[in-house]
């Protein structure tokens, strides 16, 4: 079966070691994580993992079920790239002297919709948000300036569906979760 890119979003409690528990699932299946972002979700106290993986449809279904089986994971979903709006952020540090001597800088900033965050005598920090190929393009275009540092964030994503699926799930949990008799 053909491999393609999937974005997993997993919602969890904020417990120590959870990142480890999550990555173990991928390690066991010999899957490489392309990108990983973790931060607090819209619901206070619940954290959101956004993980990008290249794999097959069959395997992603199994992996997501195994993620959901982790005690501290509330819910995990996988989405195809067409189902999400996603973004990454990149920062570039270039020598200020190279910029001032160039005539291209204004054009580059405009073309890439980038912005300048800081200028010192020695360096200038430029920020750009976009997909990986877009942030990569700006990096390639600035190679002539001698990029001193470059960093790119992991992916964050939002679904094309109207509401966050987790909120609905939490409501359902409260009303429908069968209780265990002890």
């Amino acid at each position: 079966m053909e491999e393609k890119e999937f974005t997993i979003t997993a919602f969890s409690e904020n417990s120590i070691g959870l990142l480890n528990r999550i990555t173990i699932i991928f390690t066991r299946r010999h899957l490489n994580i392309e990108s990983l972002t973790v931060s607090e979700s819209a619901i206070h106290g619940i954290f959101k993992f956004t993980i990008v993986i290249n794999t097959t449809q069959t395997l992603i279904e199994k992996v997501v079920k195994q993620l959901e089986k982790i005690v501290d994971v509330l819910r995990a979903y996988y989405l195809c790239t067409e189902e999400i709006i996603y973004q990454e952020i990149a920062l570039y540090k270039v020598p200020t002297e190279a910029l001032t001597q160039s005539t291209e800088i204004e054009g580059l900033i405009r073309k890439h919709n980038a912005r300048i965050l800081e200028v010192t005598n020695e360096y200038t920090v430029i920020e750009k948000t976009g997909h990986k190929d877009e942030t990569q393009q700006l990096f390639d275009d600035m190679k002539g300036f001698g990029v001193l540092q470059f960093t790119r964030s992991g992916r964050i994503a939002i679904t094309k569906a109207t509401r966050e699926r987790l909120s609905e799930y939490l409501v359902k949990l409260d009303t429908e979760k069968p209780r265990v008799q002890i």
């Binding site: 969890s12 409690e13 120590i16 070691g17 480890n20 528990r21 173990i24 066991r28 279904e61 199994k62 079920k65 195994q66 959901e68 089986k69 005690v71 501290d72 994971v73 509330l74 949990l173 429908e176 979760k177 069968p178 209780r179 265990v180 002890i182």
Partner: protein, 564 residues
């Protein structure tokens, strides 16, 4: 609720008492000493059993849990004490056994500094536990202990590791205990979806040749009686996985035997002839399915399973009911039509007869001079009349014992299935005996595995535990030797053993024993073993180069089952 000012150590013990624990297995050491000190005050309520190795404590806890249905608890120190539990944790994880392991840890200020006997317990136990937690503050102890018991026992059970720093054991807290009833992110009992139950019932009612695959889920859910009602009403022949053994009485007319690599001929061959496979609380392990591409070729698949991650993992289900199987049986029973399937059931009878003539007869009534494992097992099971608990180690003797031992009651088999842990048998048998002192516990072990945890003879002796050890000695790592013979051109690489005098070793541990090499002495020795009150080692010299058949070679189709 009233609270009591206690130390963290006392809180651990009070929590165990609140959860009804009266037996724990363990081994003391520096980082767990505060709790051991308190155990001294609670000896009348909690019996601590000192094993000879932490691995022994873990397997004993497993044996205890498997026969009682309660949580098995073990307690160890930091560092090597904790790492020695790994095999037991991994085994309990694969075989869904509820155990709780409590390890001491260096004081919290020293975490991560490579202090003496410090190891990353959270890190190493994470992939082999259902849940784990490190406690650094005494106040957390009651809540986390309650959570540990809840998680270990509910849903698909499994092992939980609790790592408690030494300062948390010393510090004080106001103790009050509330049992855990819910963890927000954890759904132990998925809600039964009636529409899938109806779909499953329709498939069952329309099937001509259905076959049920009974797994340990039936036992864990306490659904044995409902299972019988279900298969009896629909007249479905039912085979069992290794871990599902004893869920049905051996002589039940619909019990058609063991599945998988060394299972019975009928259920394996019929897997590819039936039109409906019903996975009941089992996970389609590769030792059951063989090559999945050719598995159940003619069949629709129904899967009743509590763990949704098992559904479609190995075998694609046409209908899955994700719920506690007891609830599923209750829901589906009224929808099942009473059916007669004499012709189909007769096919299993003829398959059994074929296997009997080709294999079983020679196994249990051998004509050759040397003793076979099969005849030893049959003689013992005839004497114990289906009432004994069987504990095995791993290898040829395990397959033979599970094939030929007979059972009347559920939870009568303790064996290492998923992980296949050699060395499991002896300590697990000890734990099983502690859990069910009213039962005769027979530990069937090979000469290889026996020497992996032989030190637990000391535990058996110290506690005067009447474990009946049956050592089937072929002076070989028999199962590996069998594979070498069949698949590696008889190149017997590192499988022959030069063994010690086991009877002398047992006597050194204060355990009586007898060695049997001739058929005429077998019955007398079995009688002696069973009639003596204490532990006993019966060593039987069996044929050196016997093989276990039938056999589905690894990766082959269940239809390619070999009878020789």
């Amino acid at each position: 609720m009233k609270t009591k000012r206690v130390s963290g150590s006392e809180a651990v013990i009070l929590s165990l008492i609140e959860e009804g624990v009266n037996t724990i297995f363990g081994y003391p050491g520096g980082a767990i000493m505060p709790i051991y000190d308190l155990l001294y005050d609670y000896q009348d309520q909690i019996k601590h059993i000192l094993t000879r190795h932490e691995q022994g404590a873990a397997h004993a806890a497993q044996g205890y849990a498997r026969v009682t249905g309660k949580v098995g608890v073990c307690m160890v120190t930091s560092g090597p004490g904790a790492t020695n539990l790994t095999t037991g944790l991994a085994d309990a994880m694969l075989d869904s056994t509820p155990i709780i392991c409590i390890s001491g840890q260096v004081v919290s200020g020293l975490l991560g500094t490579d202090a003496f006997q410090e190891t990353d317990v959270m890190g190493f136990s994470m992939p082999i536990t259902k849940w784990n937690i490190q406690i650094t503050r005494a106040e957390e102890i009651p809540e986390m202990m309650a959570r540990a018991f809840f998680i270990a026992t509910t849903g698909r059970p499994g092992p939980v590791m609790i790592d408690i720093t030494k300062d948390a054991q010393f510090a004080e807290l106001d103790f009050k205990y509330e049992k855990c009833r819910d963890v927000r992110s954890y759904v132990p009992r998925p809600k039964l979806q009636m529409e899938y139950v109806e779909k499953a019932a329709a498939l069952i009612n329309n099937a001509k040749k259905p076959m049920a695959l009974v797994g340990q889920g039936v036992i864990l859910s306490g659904a044995e009686k409902l299972l019988l009602q279900f298969i009896e009403k629909a007249q479905i022949p039912a085979a069992w996985t290794l871990l599902g053994n004893s869920a049905m009485p051996t002589d039940h007319p619909l019990n058609v035997g063991m599945l998988g690599m060394h299972g019975n001929y009928g259920p394996n061959i019929k897997t590819n002839e039936c039109d409906l496979l019903l996975g009941l609380g089992m996970r389609f392990d590769d030792r059951v399915t063989g090559d999945v591409k050719t598995y159940g070729k003619m069949a629709k698949v129904i899967h009743f399973e509590i763990d949704s991650s098992e559904v479609n993992k190995n075998v694609k289900a046409d209908v899955a009911v994700i719920a506690d199987i007891k609830e599923t049986f209750e829901a589906i029973l009224p929808l099942i039509k009473e059916t007669k399937r004499e012709e189909w059931l007769n096919q299993f009878k003829s398959a059994y007869q074929y296997e009997y003539d080709k294999i079983i007869e020679k196994d249990i009534h051998p004509e050759k001079e040397g003793l076979t494992m099969g005849e030893v097992i049959r003689r013992i099971t005839e004497r114990t009349d289906g009432e004994a608990i069987l504990v095995t180690d791993v290898g040829q003797h395990q397959m033979i014992a599970n094939r030929y031992f007979k059972f009347k009651h559920s939870r009568s088999v303790v064996t290492s299935g998923g992980l296949g842990t050699m060395g499991f048998g002896l300590p697990a048998a000890f734990g099983a005996q502690r859990g069910r002192p009213d039962k005769t516990v027979i530990a069937v072990i090979g000469d290889g595995g026996f020497q992996m945890t032989i030190q637990e003879l000391g535990t058996i002796w110290q506690n005067k535990a009447p474990v009946k050890i049956v050592l089937l000695n072929n002076n070989f790592l028999g199962m590996v030797r069998q594979w070498q013979q069949l698949f590696f051109d008889k190149r017997y690489s590192s499988t022959e053993l030069t063994n010690p005098d086991f009877i002398t070793i047992a006597r050194g541990f204060g355990i009586d024993g007898k060695k049997v090499s001739e058929r005429k002495d077998l019955d007398g020795a079995i009688n002696e073993m069973l009639s003596l009150e204490g532990p006993f080692l019966l060593e039987v010299t069996v044929e050196k180069e016997d093989n276990v058949f039938p056999m589905v070679p690894a990766g082959a189709s269940v239809s390619d089952i070999r009878l020789e």
